[in-house]
Subunit: 413 residues, 2 copies
Amino acid sequence: MSRNSLSRRRFLQASGAAALWLPTSVAGYTAAEMRQFYANGEMSVNVSKWELDTPALCVDLDLLEANLDRMASTMSTNGIASRPHAKTHKCPTIAQMQMDRGSVGICTAKVSEAEAMFQNGIDNILNTTGNVTPTKINRAMNLRQQCPGFIQATDSQDNARLLSEAAVAKGIIADVVVDVDPGIRRTGTPFGQPALQLAQLVDQLPGLNFVGMLCYDAAAQHVVGFETRKAQTLERMVQATDTFEMMKASGLNTEIFSGGGTGTYNIDHDTKGLTDVQVGSYVFMDAQYISIGGEEDNEVYSDFHTSLTIMTTVLNDQYEGKATSDAGAKACTINQPWPIIKGETGMSYRSGSDEFGTITYQEDASRTYKVGEKLEVIVSHCDPVVNLYDQMYAIRGDKVEAVWPISARGMSA
Amino acid sequence: MSRNSLSRRRFLQASGAAALWLPTSVAGYTAAEMRQFYANGEMSVNVSKWELDTPALCVDLDLLEANLDRMASTMSTNGIASRPHAKTHKCPTIAQMQMDRGSVGICTAKVSEAEAMFQNGIDNILNTTGNVTPTKINRAMNLRQQCPGFIQATDSQDNARLLSEAAVAKGIIADVVVDVDPGIRRTGTPFGQPALQLAQLVDQLPGLNFVGMLCYDAAAQHVVGFETRKAQTLERMVQATDTFEMMKASGLNTEIFSGGGTGTYNIDHDTKGLTDVQVGSYVFMDAQYISIGGEEDNEVYSDFHTSLTIMTTVLNDQYEGKATSDAGAKACTINQPWPIIKGETGMSYRSGSDEFGTITYQEDASRTYKVGEKLEVIVSHCDPVVNLYDQMYAIRGDKVEAVWPISARGMSA
């Protein structure tokens, strides 16, 4: 894919080299123009990704669809459902693609994210983070009032009581899952008796309907090496399973036992009782995830493709051994490993400067860049990068096929 | 300021402790509600910053105004102008406050940022980054067509020719400064002859009007220790001054020699010929800047106040020695030093997790937090943090006085 893009680009460069100082792109479109084309159904203008004003966030549709398909087929083979986490993409279009492939619902990290998803047609939403203030509890129960498929997580008895009060005040009975801590001590109630007692309280409260539990082991997702990751994940989830069994044995409704993620998607079905996996990053992958290794390749986690990239333009080529581009920390974040230049070798990319990226050439660099030339980098860590952009370009081959609003961008509240 | 806020908060907590599980905030307002109040002129509702839905970006008006005033008076005393960089705040309201205090214009890092400023009433803008693609050159010259006070930087002869062609095509003569590299080798042309020749070319091109040069020593701004910073800055700027003198001697129009920043604001007037300082972070300060030391206090850079904070809510308090809050990397970035909890001692804050902040208590922690309680953190690095939010709350005392749109949020193109 990237080799083809670059070949075409080199062809364009060679064929357009009438004046040495002409940038290689002969046309170009701003974000506003692209939104307009898309809104007017004018994507037949056939814009190449190399013509986009930069920095531009792009998702390769062939790769995205392959990722979605692989996840759906693995889940199906393993006899477990997926409930993908929308905190990764914040994009209702991708959420819908996940639902269309059989996901039982989506997860959201914040109630504002859930609202944005619901306002854009997604109506089966599990909000995995507790809402603890009157404002947030009110928002969550307002959303539940409009969206019967909304499920809220809770991790304390006090919070469950407040949720119930708010639900009763609105005349609804809200579905609730108990968030159980897998040992990270970040959110969630401890497993065993505290979790059981909370579940029983939720079950008894007049405004709430207990539907199960979630236990998301965030720390497990990036454990390097498949076998190590597998062993650790399954060991840590034993107590979650025991807790779920206790809930079941006590006669509670236990239709949901949600957990796991992209790093453990082909491990989680071995956790007894788990009903669905909260996979997120698999849609895009990133420099962080590919370095954890997979079942098939212990060096590179190659189960999914790196579909999410940033197009950036070289601004300065005057200094030996390096070039400066227009995508810095505000366009790439400062997460590490740093972005990876797609299709090239012998060079590195750093986005440590707020406004500028730095390309550093090693002796064996596959090429160098001139001012005005564009390059494509694989993102460092997909979730916070997506959160910087209002839209992403959906690319097929080199062509922009759609402009997708990132409707939950900035929805951290 | 922070002590008062906390006293008031503790008073509220104490007086509102009827039910143990009630969050301390008895009312609360979402971002959308706050925007509505402000748009309708209803700020008389008297919302406290402790009632804001979180995460919320807040600027303390007394501190901001003190920062603006101190900068204006220092510049006046030192006989040099300021041309503040709007990349820091991305907020036209603050740009206007800077202009009202005598700044000769503002700087922008990207043409989209410049457009957002112009669309919101700021009409004296120096865009410090080169625009090198046809799209961007067109955008810049379109802006110049509407805004005669727009000045564009360039750092290469090829680029100057393209700018001139675009200006001629639009029937305008655009003001241009030459960007001279202070030795960072990031953007800019080398000083001496290359800079002079570029200036002469700009002067001769039919569509351009040469108005001077800029030389921004980004690396100097965060040098720790005032005397070290001063010595390095002045030494590195000598060749910029020589270059400016060469331009002057060759008969060029040299009305602008712009450089320097917040870290060197009280040093830059000693650079011979410098006309204005591109100060940015002084409006907000942050954890990064306060650690560089100042002229008066070599440990803490106390010339300006840390006016920019994030309000965050505690989501989980069940685990010994720590608490989890709702402002993680998507609300705070992962820049370090980490955010600083305002008005408290013996505890630290980390925003390394995408969705959650972690408060870690040391043995001598000044307090602990319960679920639903809010805390205020000083931002790590103001520029990229501002870029995450659509609005900032302008706070006087504890009260929200205004809701300012961050009009250039996400404008990295």
